[in-house]
């Protein structure tokens, strides 16, 4: 362990803003992407189900 305290760790020797700005935005982007792909899958499933439902409904009515 190279840090004397947590304060030391967060300060990053005065580079805290730059180091945590890099790590923070990277973590944020990763989180956003995971939400995106999840939502894209839900949308895809909804679209497929809607079209299938429309198709079967059409068959029943004709």
């Amino acid at each position: 362990m190279i840090w004397n305290s947590w304060n030391d760790f967060w300060a990053m020797g005065g580079y805290g803003l730059y180091v945590w700005g890099s790590f923070g935005v990277t973590a944020l982007c990763i989180a956003v992407e995971m939400v995106w792909v999840k939502r894209a899958r839900e949308n895809a499933l909804t679209q497929v189900a809607n079209e299938l439902a429309a198709k079967t409904n059409g068959k029943e009515w004709s």
Binding site: M1, M12, I30, E33, V37, R41, A44, E51
Partner: protein, 258 residues
């Protein structure tokens, strides 16, 4: 063996395979990033020149590598798609682009945050930075182009050509620090000269690199499944999928309430 590989060139067979594989890659990405961050943030010593500021390297270098690797992967799928006319190729190219764009953005972002304290500037128009910016625009261009064309086969062709031509930019990025006099430092790790870093710093950086790689694979596999679903929605095998059936049942249940 080769024939076995070609089985998975069909979306119908690749869909379940990708579904089985993505959690594995996600797990690897998580485990490796915990390990890499531990080494990078708690074990690696302070740099004698840059103090603690150098620790940005543990995200900057891996995301920059991945921004280039993903583009090469896109070009590979594009080449496959354009020569063999395989349907899956275009879907893979499309599935990779958003992840690549995010990594290219992160490369520029973390680079700016590293440049400011070390060079005194967020941005300079130097060959390395400019070619990486072009890479970012190539990703955005690819996403815009493929989503602007309605016919998926034509979108695949156009996107494939863009991916292939744009791939020329990747060696330019990589060798820019050699070809031109840049403010950006040379490669810290080189195949010919080995590494100029302390062992543990190098290890942490490489582990983070593999972690981001695994993450990118997991995201691409997850995303390609959604693309396959939409593109193949008229196929019977999609209608037979348990997740599609569940969605239908939910829809019918929801409809009955109205």
């Amino acid at each position: 063996m080769i024939q076995k590989l070609f089985i998975y060139a069909s979306p119908q067979n690749f869909y379940p395979l990708a579904g089985r594989l993505w959690p594995l890659f996600a797990l690897l990405a998580t485990a490796l990033s915990v390990w890499g961050l531990w080494l990078g943030m708690f074990v690696a010593p302070t740099d004698f020149q840059q103090g603690e500021g150098y620790r940005i390297i543990f995200v900057h270098v891996p995301v920059s590598w991945m921004s280039m690797v993903i583009y090469l992967a896109m070009a590979f799928w594009a080449l496959l798609g354009l020569t063999f006319n395989t349907r899956l190729s275009g879907m893979m190219t499309q599935a990779l682009a958003p992840t690549g764009a995010i990594f290219a953005f992160l490369s520029l972002w973390t680079g700016a945050l590293w440049g400011k304290p070390m060079w005194g500037a967020w941005w300079v128009w130097d060959a390395r930075l400019t070619s990486e910016l072009i890479l970012f625009f190539l990703y955005l261009g690819h996403i815009a182009l493929t989503s602007a064309i309605d016919d998926p086969r034509r979108a695949d062709k156009a996107g494939g050509v863009l991916a292939l031509v744009g791939a020329l930019n990747v060696p330019v990025i990589y060798f820019s620090v050699k070809w031109w006099n840049t403010l950006h430092q040379g490669a810290s790790v080189s195949l010919t000269k080995g590494s100029s870093m302390a062992q543990v710093m190098l290890e942490a950086m490489l582990i983070m690199g593999v972690a981001f790689w695994m993450f990118a694979v997991a995201m691409a596999l997850y995303r390609v499944r959604s693309i396959i679903l939409v593109r193949e929605r008229h196929a019977q095998w999609v209608a037979d999928l348990p997740e599609v059936k569940a969605q239908m049942a939910q829809k019918i249940a929801g409809g009955a309430n109205v």
